[in-house]
Symmetry: C3
Subunit: 653 residues, 3 copies
């Protein structure tokens, strides 16, 4: 199933948000009905945090209240995205199953009083979750209001308890087969860590010094698989009773305990939650970063923005408000990049509880407010975009992204704590966004042949297959930029010997790195072409490549920093430092030029073509004339120029 199964039912793009009527009384419900109508809400996510109401004691269900809300919403023309409430077990769960509470690496057993106080590997939790999902599906599987199933909420937390340990061992037996194989993969010959009994294998709990990197990496893999198994159990329980699409909302924070490629393959369509972590233009860039990942995890198919904050930017530990217009800008960016709608967390701002200050479509101030007026205008705009539903985006550039490389970058004992996977990924995307290019993300082992340019930042871990795939991509005519300290370990993770990156990739790049030379915290170096670098440098040898820029100081003076290699029909570039933003952007612009990627719009205009429509966001202070007048879906009339900080959705001829 796809987003079409949703949008056809809705008659257009989805618009709405999490709706928690149990927090309010019937006077408010009546106002909700009225305000949803005004805002053109057509989809409400219900039940995410309602386990305690649905199942007030273990095994006893109470759905009457839910029936009433679903009927009311349905009567008002609002479809329902029905959630299984399994992200927040009721307090009785703690008492009934204390062994199913989560335990930190330090051995602290967390208790209820927040949310997500369960261990995904605990049988009692998995049983309880499957039962409530089944019960919901049985009752509402074919309810006319239900348009979508929302399993759980933001799978994110880890657990180090004994259930997790037992499940980890089972998973390891599956992966490694024998203890000998596990010992080999983890390199347990070092520090006398050899396992002689499966029973001795544990999660990476608190220990004396560094953890074993193989153990840490496998635990992250295991956990992601466990979360996916938990998802599949609920999905299958729902499918037994319902023909509506099923998904779970993936969170996109600065860390990631899940392999979202794997999730993308199991969801009827991808849905994500996205909250920018900086305000202003950075938030616009971060929105594109999130949306492009969401689209990519679903293989390019349309997806759905399940949560954004109407007025929320989480930055520097604060809950900052958005600037006026940002609600529209961010939403248009998401839809431009493939979302078949825009939902918010949440409809009405909570008056109590842990997220009292998380913003909402109807703020504490009520409907007579800037925020609700912007939400109304947005509801109108989204309605006008109905025709784009189901269309797709084509990108000529991809950035490689791999959860395993991320996890490997968080091992103990790496040469530098500045190896920040997420930051490097984000910088690559940002440079492309800054020069006006739409970007896909791809896994290193994906077919990359449709891309003119591929960037590979921060792939510390790379499999043989990945390295061979990148070599093939270059040989077949692609332009590839590999960045520092990539392809350095394989998937066990074992260091690659004889220099890095991994052999096949070395061929394509025409270089061999002999040793990394992390820079000191304050150090900023100059290259021979005047560019500047920080964080990292490397001692590398040309093996066919030409040096485009060289280091100018210290032992590396005269040695190559940035290289280019003609290989087969393509070119392999290698960058061994972290360039300053402007230098990095200039390099990306040069690569785009060489790769033949054409940019049509002046700087500051974010332009995305989705199907037969072009989305434009002018982030600049100047009016931008259009090459030719075009029909703007948002105004319903012709447009000849884009005003400063304005936006448009043009139907292409």
């Amino acid at each position: 199933m796809t987003t079409r199964d949703l949008t056809e039912r809705l008659g257009g793009l989805a618009f709405g948000g999490d709706y928690n009527p149990e927090q309010w009384d019937k006077e408010v419900w009546a106002e909700d009905d009225e305000l949803m109508r005004r805002a053109r809400v057509n989809l409400a996510t219900v039940g995410v945090f309602s386990w305690a109401l649905m199942e007030p004691e273990e095994g006893r269900y109470d759905f009457a209240w839910l029936d009433a809300h679903l009927d009311r919403l349905h009567a008002g023309g609002v479809a329902v995205d029905l959630a299984t409430p399994t992200a927040s077990p009721p307090t009785w769960f703690t008492k009934a199953h204390p062994d199913a509470l989560p335990v930190t690496a330090d051995g602290v057993r967390l208790v209820h009083g927040s949310r997500d106080t369960y261990c995904l590997a605990a049988p009692a939790y998995r049983d309880a979750a499957r039962r409530i999902a089944s019960a919901l599906a049985e009752r509402y599987g074919r309810h006319p209001a239900v348009a979508l199933w929302h399993v759980h909420n933001e799978y994110m937390t880890l657990c180090f308890c004994d259930h997790a340990a037992a499940a980890f061992r089972t998973w390891l037996r599956e992966r490694h087969g024998t203890l000998d194989a596990l010992n080999e993969a983890w390199g347990t010959a070092f520090w006398s860590q050899r396992y002689t009994s499966w029973d001795d294998v544990l999660p990476p709990r608190a220990t004396q010094w560094h953890h074993n990197p193989g153990q840490s990496l496998d635990f992250r893999r295991f956990w992601s698989d466990t979360a996916l198994a938990a998802y599949r159990e609920q999905r299958d329980a729902i499918r037994a009773h319902s023909d509506r699409p099923v998904t779970t909302n993936l969170m996109l924070p600065g860390y990631q305990n899940l392999d979202l490629w794997a999730f993308g393959r199991e969801l009827d369509f991808v849905t994500v939650d996205h909250y920018p972590d900086r305000p202003g233009l950075d938030a616009a860039a971060d929105t594109a970063f999130g949306a492009d990942r969401a689209r990519s995890f679903g293989g390019g198919r349309p997806w759905l923005l399940m949560e954004q904050g109407a007025n929320t930017v989480y930055a520097e530990g604060q809950v900052l408000p958005k600037d006026p217009g940002d609600i529209m800008r961010h939403t248009l960016s998401h839809i431009a990049r493939g979302s078949d709608g825009a939902l918010f967390f949440q409809w009405r701002q909570s008056k109590a509880g842990a997220e009292t200050w998380h913003s909402a479509m109807v703020p504490h101030a009520g409907p007579d407010s800037r925020v609700f007026r912007e939400v109304e205008a947005l509801g109108d705009a989204v309605t006008r975009l109905a025709e784009v539903a189901g269309s797709t985006v084509t990108a000529e550039v991809a950035v490689l992204h791999d959860a395993e490389a991320w996890w490997a970058s968080e091992a103990d004992g790496l040469p530098s704590p500045a190896l920040d996977y997420h930051l490097m990924l984000r910088r690559a995307h940002r440079a492309l966004w800054d020069v006006g290019v739409v970007t896909d993300f791809a896994h290193p082992e994906h077919d990359l042949s449709r891309y003119r340019l591929v960037l590979a930042p921060a792939l510390l871990l790379m499999s043989d297959a990945g390295a061979a795939n990148l070599r093939r991509y270059v040989a077949d005519g692609g332009t590839l930029l590999v960045q520092h300290f990539s392809g350095v370990v394989d998937e066990r993770p074992h260091a690659r010997l004889g220099g890095f990156p991994a052999g096949p990739l070395r061929e394509a790049l025409g270089v061999r790195v002999e040793e990394p030379r992390p820079l000191r915290r304050e150090e900023r170096i100059t290259l021979s072409d005047g560019a500047h670098g920080t964080v990292w440098s490397e001692y590398l040898h040309l093996d066919g490549a030409e040096a485009i820029a060289a280091y100018t100081h210290g032992m590396l003076a005269g040695h190559p920093a940035l290289t280019r290699h003609a290989y087969g029909a393509g070119h392999g570039w290698y960058l061994s430092t972290v360039l300053d933003t402007s230098d990095y952007t200039a390099l990306i612009a040069r690569l785009l030029g060489e790769a033949g990627v054409v940019r049509e719009w002046p700087p500051g205009v974010e332009a995305v073509t989705r199907g037969g429509w072009r989305f434009l966001l002018n982030h600049g202070d100047d009016t931008v004339p259009l090459p030719e007048a075009a029909h703007d879906l948002l105004t319903g009339g012709p447009l000849t120029e884009l005003p400063p900080h304005g936006w448009a959705v043009l139907r292409m001829p």
Copy 2:
């Protein structure tokens, strides 16, 4: 009972400090007798840390050593402030009652080896504390040396153990009556936190994400009530055997687990411990801040400075020494502001133990030292001030202070971590101190009619009654300044809907705040009147008020930042940002002018009128001529001018 019951017995103001003779031998005791005489010490606090000596094993008391010290002191003309030793249980207590040791939110059970290793909610601890208090009172209740009872020491610590949990539940039943009411108050509909059994309710122990703010706030209330109940038990046990006043020394740190208003009502008179946390002029301001709070918590009656450091400023994690003269300055400031004496922790600097480096009246260096010479001079000065005993201070300005607002400001998930209650309270007091005005503190629900000006900083939480009280104050002619993000939640705490502050207060202020807009960490904004703000801004609407200054940047450009509203016979001001210090001080000066508060002394002179005496501290480098010659109690002669950095206590005509 009042401080008169003490000062009449002493024949003047109290002077002395904590005295721990058990740390020394008899040669030192003899020197103590001599040095106390030289320093005119008339009150010694004995027994604070003597539990292990008083009750060497559970139920067996040994008071012989204490008899001897009390007799010796009495013979030397030194009265005794006799402490119950319950802040530091002996090591046998750990073994006998391991369940009564404190437990952190993470579940770590703390052991002895320091002090305060008990849980105030543990029955075994409460029993043991009551027993030793009773035994002491029975033996010494009418001992001629005993002039005052000092229950416990600095109630401060929290505990999250099972006893605390059980007691918390009992307290919650009392407060909320039913689980439904608790669920409503805490907003447990959010995150599926609904309680279906009292047994499931816990202290806010370690959990996965944010805690519930209602749970956190109620736990702080519960804990304060628990501490007060513990105090009352000991007090009542003492009163059964003694006719001397009873108190406990309240600590005034930058956090506060107690509602000191409630304590103030239960003490015969307030006593506080005060340690400045910055040196120099800041220490002088902080001293006034502490003293004004101490006086206010006791309803304006005379109080007693129970502890100060002879030479100690705790700043930046260091134990900094005071500057010469500061011992006199700080003490005069305390007495000016209502203290009927000045005590120190401690008489003689410990040669061993955890507070070896905490200063004392007799330092490690011995009596041939700057510190002891200053102490001697101070003892002489305090003796000369005997006639001020019992007199009171009248202030025309009050700053509102509420522990519940403080606690609410420490909830998880607030818009900004920069909502620093203590800092905001302190800035308000400091601005008034800088312009030379004596300040009371008051609770938002107190009768405020005697004040010309009231400042309300940082009252995130405000009850309906408080808001109505403030409206009444303005209507009746008062001048009120309410500062940003006040009156935003009620006492459950639930957000106030429709804009803030709370409705009645909005009327008095003539504004409605639609949304808070916290500023970024580095952000500094300019208002239309040239003032600057940081930390916070708000989008607010005039509803009768006039804008005194407007924002000049971003979405708020042109919108009001500082407003003034003529309401009834008074004026309600609202300030929606955190002004720079100089701008804030200028605003306070303007408000004082409008409110008719007259300042007689030039900047830099701290002048406090207590009863018929005027205390003067010249913090400046210039000589300040007096308007007319006056009798200075300290010199015993007439004074016509105040030298640079000098002081005087003038008998007013």
Copy 3:
């Protein structure tokens, strides 16, 4: 036994490193044989992390694999430093003896998955360690390959478990005899900490506020003694079967849980591990700092550098590479300062495990690499230095160093957290290094008569005997510089009363410090001689000394800051602040001049005389002519000048 027992067997200085063949396969072993030959390796440390292989299940040994490696090495001319593997128990140890796992002060029991997961005080661990040491010694005690025994690895970790508690109590009974004595020493009269039963005494586990300083200090002493006892058990087990020297490799980090003077007395010769914590010139200085300590701990006898990183500088949380030539420079510095060889951790860089990124003699890149080429050159150089084996270094200057003073400086509640023992020790050594002087370290109670100048930084704790020893040193003609806040507590630790430093030392210095006045974090003061100070100041009185420089600001203006006292035949200097580096170095230069220490070489030349050889390292950019041509062991020819950044080892006439 001495290093001669090793070097005679090797026929020269030791060269090699930790060798972990169990991490590799036989193809690699063959390459190892070849590369060791090329690099002139003559000693390999084997078995450090091999417990799991040696004893795959409790009580069952497997030495066949080890036999093969020892035979192979022996056949290749490489001797073996055979390690007991007790620093890293196998995973079966956790299951068999969960009570022997280490526990943090917070009560977290650490598990395997790293290394050092044992409690040194747990009987099960001690038994297991002794058994495996015995088994190894029995099998290999007279194996021809074995040239040295390497007990354990870097004794460093603490434990707070119940075994540690029980052993601590036994140790305390031994030290204090009676509970009364313990109570007196710890000052338990304060905070009601009096112990009435030995059973109540605990390690300094998590508690409410400050720990008792006596308890903390005694726990550190106890732990050091425990580690030494653990060492002795293994050593004695080995000696029962072997006539080869026995040692353990001491780690020199920025903290220290061991009294290395005590260890030095028990080792056949000292071996240390040294990793600079800053790159460049700082690494050179830190190398000398480490080497001088190593030599001193062994009483000046030759020692052995057991571990250095071929290419590793651990700085700022990073694994930074060394600059080219540093491998040679650091090694020559170690040998110059008394090391009879140079070993590395490790021979071949691990391809997996927790220290994958720790450098090695054969890096990931393989032998075709800068690092291995430098290692080959170094092997050649070390071989050429054979004749220096066994010779010693004579220093005219000593810096006092005492683990007890260090530990005391880490007590809770000290006046300033800036009392950084290690930093102060290092600054003293660095100033001497900067002016070209070779430095010994000495304990305050050592015979100091052979030194012209003694520096005493940061000796917060000083025994009466130490103070008397320093007085005697000055009286007998020595020049002594005592730095701020030294001699302030005795060994219990109790504050010294009447002013500090300790009485006998006050006589020698002619000053009495009345009170310390720590400076604020940002504060920088100027002295009357133009020098600048930070961190600390003191209010001190001259008592015979003359003021060399005075404070110029605040209450201390005009009071002495730096003093000099002619006492007996010598001079006692006292410095009461922390001088800026250049001012401190100038002071040290002046003291050297007064003490008659002659410096022959220009700044930037590190010159060390060992036996009849002079080691020279030119850290400067200029060519340095030699006073006369000399034979350079490294080139085997005459040398007349030292090139910029060059080095030489001259045979002295």
